[in-house]
């Protein structure tokens, strides 16, 4: 369809061979001369105050090198997570660290240290804190509202009746802190011929990336070298510098490979700064490898929802109004903001005529929450799917049709401000998926065979998928090699490499002539966006595009300067700049680069644009004189919301006797504009599918409300889906229609890939159970068994962080 040289073509990312051979280095694989090993002591109490630390038992122990406590590190302003704290707000909150010659000795020391902690009131369920007389997760209050008008703690209590009514499925009448909406809600419901109204719960759960976040650090002539487990590269620097209390120029981040992030390593997190502080204190390199259990504690988790939603549908299935209220479980550090994003997702994916979002973010003494693959969008996707089915049944419309009729398209306006979208082809995605899946045929087949029931589900996923204003940097050296500098982190999506191919495309060069400079600040990287929110592809194909265009323009100018004529007389191809009228009048890229060094100024990087980020400026300064520099900030036009969209069709065979189901067929379709990297998109769609399967079936936080203990601290209990919990085949496809606001038509896809999966499964389970809506994730076998047996569920309505 296009005749690109690189865009839309598969390739071998340079780091993948290291991954299959074990040569790829992750933070914990680095060793430094004289390095010592640190271990953490974390809080055994959900909320408390450290009143004494007794380390006397360590006296005379061999191999102990040092102890780091909260007094040795900067205090963070509440509710932000601390590096180390004397006021733990969740079980697992880091209190101190010990460094020793080897990990066992460090653990021996940890085992002997006595920490005296005075317990404080705690809560593990937002509604337990919201109810009058209920405990607050922090002494400052039980609610933390983040907003542009100013953030702050609040104490909000609902009456017992209000909580009871909420649990009973009635519209919440308690106080809320966030509200937005558009259109005439009342009219919307008045025009509706069918109204569905349901309470819902989505339990949060841990990210549990494969690599427990390790960091190693040492100081070398004033700079702190940090070997970290980072989702983003350049984006980490400002935060890391702040945590280490140094200037950005004095931080070197080495992050060649990262064992997964999923939102939990977007920016520099406090614990990544611990080795730096420890190393400063004891004067030796320090590596902190945390345990899997500690990764559960510190490694962040998805925000939980307890909510209520009401939607009105016109006879043709069009959504006339949507009203949603969400109580957010934001953990102790007030991270998240998923609620409003969920509202935004409703407005974009289902485009209600009118809508209102109300929310109250409540603090709990559970693990800190953070962005997790589709934060908000994916929780609400799971909630919405069975409700769309319910409405379709009541309206007697096909479940595919009701989604098509509400599908987001190029004319849809979204969010409170009713902004336009850059482009959106959900209808096309649905049609493609329905066709691959064979929706019409499958929905006609008989459902029931003994105790086995077939369930068909459709899910839709969304996340905004792009940003602008970041920098691109390319460099051509006299040897003709094209250096593509990527400040994009390597968390496993290969977008660090995929996005540089935009520059290769513009420079019309072979991939073999390109070298990607990445993985360490010292590779002189440009300022980059975070590698999250599905933004990298849109954002950094643009950044690489503008940098490459800058390089091309400079090459033409140099050619004109050396060979005569005007820059406009020249064009590039085959690693040559040539005169369009007299192609023999040409210079190789190498010669151009050599000439650029002689000319200096903007050509060699001695001069650079003012509007690029200080990080990019520093890189250019270091690179100046080493070749021809193409550097620019992405100032290309950008209007409206950039949607990453996906839909999924799933067929399950549910066993009514065991409550288990097998996924017989899964089709995921990506709508991410032009596909830049087909294998990459497929990988994201498949990975997202598995994440959805985990959220739908097994993954959840479980806390004992009596003592605040977490039940699911290990990989085993967390219920990460395995090979045998996922289908034997996963089929994916992409719509592949270009987005007008990206030079290559590309948008991102990482997060919608999951939302469509969990939604499709919720839809399929409901379908298998004659439209029963659990209104809850996960739906575990016991819930299905109890439902089929006509028994009460074990938990009370809207209970969360429970079995």
């Amino acid at each position: 369809m296009n005749n690109y040289k690189h865009i839309g073509k598969d390739f071998v990312p340079p780091d993948i061979v290291g991954k299959v051979t074990g040569k790829a280095k992750y933070a914990e694989d680095f060793r430094a001369d004289g390095m010592v090993f640190a271990r953490l002591y974390t809080s055994p109490m959900a909320h408390g105050r450290v009143i004494g630390i007794d380390t006397s038992a360590l006296e005379g122990m061999q191999g102990i090198v040092g102890i780091l406590t909260a007094d040795d590190v900067p205090a963070m302003e509440a509710p932000n997570a601390a590096i180390l704290t004397n006021l733990p707000v969740y079980i697992g909150d880091p209190i101190l660290a010990v460094a020793a010659e080897d990990e066992k000795t460090a653990e021996d020391a940890i085992a002997r240290i006595k920490v005296h902690i005075e317990p404080l009131p705690f809560t593990v369920d937002p509604l337990d804190s919201l109810v009058e007389g209920g405990p607050n997760a922090r002494e400052e209050g039980n609610v933390f509202a983040r907003s542009s008008e100013g953030s702050g703690f609040r104490t909000i209590k609902w009456s017992a009746e209000q909580i009871a009514d909420f649990r009973a499925g009635k519209e919440p009448t308690g106080e809320w802190v966030h509200e937005w909406g558009y259109g005439d809600l009342e009219k919307g419901f008045a025009d509706a011929s069918v109204v569905v109204e349901e309470p819902f719960v989505t339990i949060g759960y841990a990210h549990m990336s494969m690599e427990p976040r390790t960091a190693m650090a040492y100081w070398q002539n004033g700079s702190c070298y940090v070997y970290g487990s980072a989702q983003s590269q350049s984006f980490w620097i400002p935060g890391l510098a702040r945590l280490l209390g140094v200037e950005q120029k004095d931080v070197v981040l080495i992050s060649e490979n990262t064992g997964g992030g999923f939102g939990s390593k977007i920016g520099a997190y406090p614990i990544a700064a611990l080795p730096g502080w420890f190393s400063k204190k004891i004067g030796r390199p320090v590596q902190l490898r945390i345990t899997r259990e500690q990764e559960y504690y510190i490694g962040s988790a998805r925000v939980g929802f307890q909510g209520w939603i009401k939607m009105g549908f016109a006879t043709n299935g069009r959504i006339t109004a949507a009203d949603v209220f969400i109580v957010e479980d934001i953990g102790p550090n007030a991270t998240g903001g998923d609620g409003s994003s969920a509202g935004g997702a409703i407005s974009l994916v289902y485009d209600p005529g009118a809508m209102r979002f109300r929310g109250v973010p409540v603090l709990t003494n559970t693990t800190p929450r953070g962005a997790q693959r589709g934060p908000g969008q994916n929780q609400i996707a799971a909630v919405m799917a069975p409700l769309m089915d319910k409405a379709a049944r009541q309206l007697n419309i096909d479940r595919l049709e009701i989604r098509r009729i509400n599908a987001v398209n190029n004319d849809t306006t979204v969010y409170e401000e009713q902004e336009p979208v850059t482009s959106a082809y959900m209808k096309e995605a649905l049609d493609k998926g329905a066709d691959m899946f064979g929706w019409t045929g499958k929905s006609k087949r008989p459902k029931r065979d003994g105790n086995k029931v077939i369930g068909l589900g459709i899910g839709q996923g969304y996340h905004s998928a792009g940003a602008t204003g970041f920098d691109g940097l390319v460099r051509i050296t006299p040897d003709g090699v094209i250096h593509l500098h990527s400040g994009v982190g390597n968390l496993g999506t290969y977008s660090y490499a995929v996005t540089t191919r935009a520059a290769a495309e513009v420079l019309k060069c072979d991939w073999e002539d390109c070298v990607i400079e990445r993985g360490t600040t010292e590779a002189n990287l440009p300022w980059s966006s975070y590698q999250a929110g599905s933004v990298s592809i849109f954002t950094h194909t643009r950044a690489n595009y503008v940098a490459a265009m800058d390089a091309v323009e400079k090459m033409k100018q140099i050619a004109a300067e050396s060979l005569g004529g005007a820059a406009s007389d020249y064009d590039i191809d085959g690693k040559q700049v040539f005169n369009v009228r007299n192609p023999r009048q040409a210079m190789s890229y190498g010669a151009i680069a050599a000439r650029a060094i002689q000319l200096g100024g903007p050509y060699s990087g001695a001069v650079y644009p003012d509007d690029i980020h200080e990080i990019t400026k520093r890189s250019v300064q270091n690179l100046a004189g080493s070749g021809l520099i193409g550097v620019a900030k992405d100032n290309l036009e950008q209007k409206g919301v950039i949607p990453g969209l996906a839909c999924a069709f799933v067929e399950i065979e549910l066993d009514l006797e065991t409550g288990k189901y097998e996924i017989l067929d899964y089709v995921g379709v990506a709508e991410c504009g032009t596909v830049v990297h087909p294998q990459g998109v497929a990988a994201q769609m498949k990975g997202g599918a598995v994440w959805g399967m985990g959220m739908a079936a097994t993954e959840r936080h479980v806390y004992d409300p009596q003592n605040g203990l977490p039940a699911n601290v290990g990989y085993h209990q967390c219920g990460i889906p395995t090979y045998l919990d996922t289908p034997l085949h996963v089929r994916t496809a992409a719509v592949d229609l270009p987005d007008p606001q990206n030079p290559f038509g590309a948008r991102g896809i990482g997060e919608p890939a999951m939302g469509c999966s969990v939604a499709a499964l919720m839809s399929a389970i409901s379908d298998a159970l004659d439209g029963h809506v659990f209104g809850r994730t996960p739906v575990s076998p016991d819930m299905i068994i109890n439902h089929v047996a006509g028994r009460e569920q074990s938990f009370e309505p809207l209970q969360t962080n429970n079995y």
Binding site: R39, L40, Y41, T42, P44, G92, E103, K104, E107, D108, I110, A111, T291, R292, E293, Q294, Y297, N451, E657, T658, G659, K660, A697, T698, V702, Y703, D704, P705, Q706, N707, L709, A711, V713, H716, Q717, G719, P721, T722, Y723, L724, D725, S780, P781, D782, M783, I785, N786, V788, A789, R791, S794, F795, N802, Y803
Partner: protein
């Protein structure tokens, strides 16, 4: 409660003969840890929740490994791996129930290293207990799981006595269903127990899962020929199909003479602190023909006498359903 994951100091013995092993077991008593595949050992030790002075590794003892024919059945050495059992011809031919059960244990790598002995004597999986809390089972004076708001979805519905943990072993149910004999040795000699008396509940043995005394080693199990080639059924329902322990499992052996059940063993896992034998169902089944009708008739008996906790009453219908399936099959 700190979190650890490095093996702490502990002595390791790798005796080559059973006598050396028994002497070490005697010498160390409660401070000795008998090591099979180690798959339920290293976690305890890394967590420092159990702190034995020495590990006594049985894997170097040839006589404890392998599957041997006997005139009254087969004998399986305690350190025979689950992988070897799954792949053994005799077992698959005559005692498929055990092969099926072994095949549903944890994960391939754990089955590759894990031994039958280790799988049979493995410790309870109650998450409170595994956290290293000083509960009844850990010698304390309280149960955290069986409390007004305790998170006890995976706990027992039968045979609780202060502790409400369940028997996690997949092969234990098969052992009881096959009337296996457990061969236990110590420096004082050998004793043999029927599987049904090998597994102990908290009413009598609250801090251990089996009748093994300090210094004793489970060296082999014997499967009698009486159940060889019976009609077997094994099913395990767990949240995930890898790693996870049974929410409820069932191991069934039926002797059928011209279409009529003459004798049967019906044993359930995940519902009691020991493999839970449904004797009353076995009685009721005698003289009936297996099939949908009998299944429907007897299924409700399965959960008789069950006392569910806050979060596990789903185990009652699940147990009934598994019995239904077993008798229908």
């Amino acid at each position: 409660m700190a979190s650890y994951d490095v093996m702490p100091d502990v002595q390791l013995f790798q005796p080559a003969s059973i006598d050396d092993a028994l002497n070490l077991a005697e010498r160390y008593g409660r401070d000795g840890w008998i090591l099979g595949g180690g798959q339920d050992t290293y976690g305890w030790l890394k967590d420092r929740a159990k702190q034995p002075k020495a590990m006594i590794d049985l894997n170097g003892i040839e006589s404890l490994r392998g599957i041997r024919q006997r005139d009254d059945g087969v004998e399986i050495g305690a350190t025979t791996t689950l992988r070897e059992i799954m792949r053994d011809e005799t077992i698959n031919a005559d005692y498929e129930l055990l092969a099926l059960a072994a095949g549903r244990v944890a994960s391939p790598q754990i089955r590759n290293a894990g031994t039958l002995g280790g799988n049979l004597v493995q410790d309870a999986r109650c998450w409170y207990y595994r956290r290293g809390l000083a509960c009844y089972r850990a010698g304390g004076n309280i149960c955290y799981a069986d409390s007004p708001e305790g998170m006890n979805r995976e706990h027992c519905v039968f045979g609780a006595s202060r502790c409400v943990a369940v028997s996690p072993s997949d092969t234990a149910t098969a052992m009881v269903a096959l009337d296996a004999t457990m061969v236990v040795q110590s420096v004082d000699g050998e004793r043999q127990l029927p599987a049904a008396r090998f597994f102990k509940g908290p009413d009598t043995h609250i801090t251990q899962m089996t009748a093994l005394r300090p210094g004793e080693v489970l060296t082999a199990v014997r499967l009698p020929s009486s159940w060889a080639g019976s009609r077997f059924y094994f099913e395990k329902v767990a949240d995930r199909n890898v790693w996870d322990f049974a929410l409820v499992s069932i191991a069934v052996a039926l002797k059928i003479d011209d279409g009529i059940v003459s004798d049967s063993r019906i044993v359930c896992g995940g519902v009691a602190c020991t493999p839970h034998r449904l004797r009353h169902v076995e009685k009721a089944l005698a003289g009936k023909a297996p099939g949908a009708e009998t299944a429907e008739l007897l299924a409700p008996l399965a959960s008789e006498g069950a006392k569910p906790l806050n979060y596990n009453h789903f185990k009652l219908p699940l147990l009934e359903n598994l019995l239904r399936r077993a008798l229908r099959a």
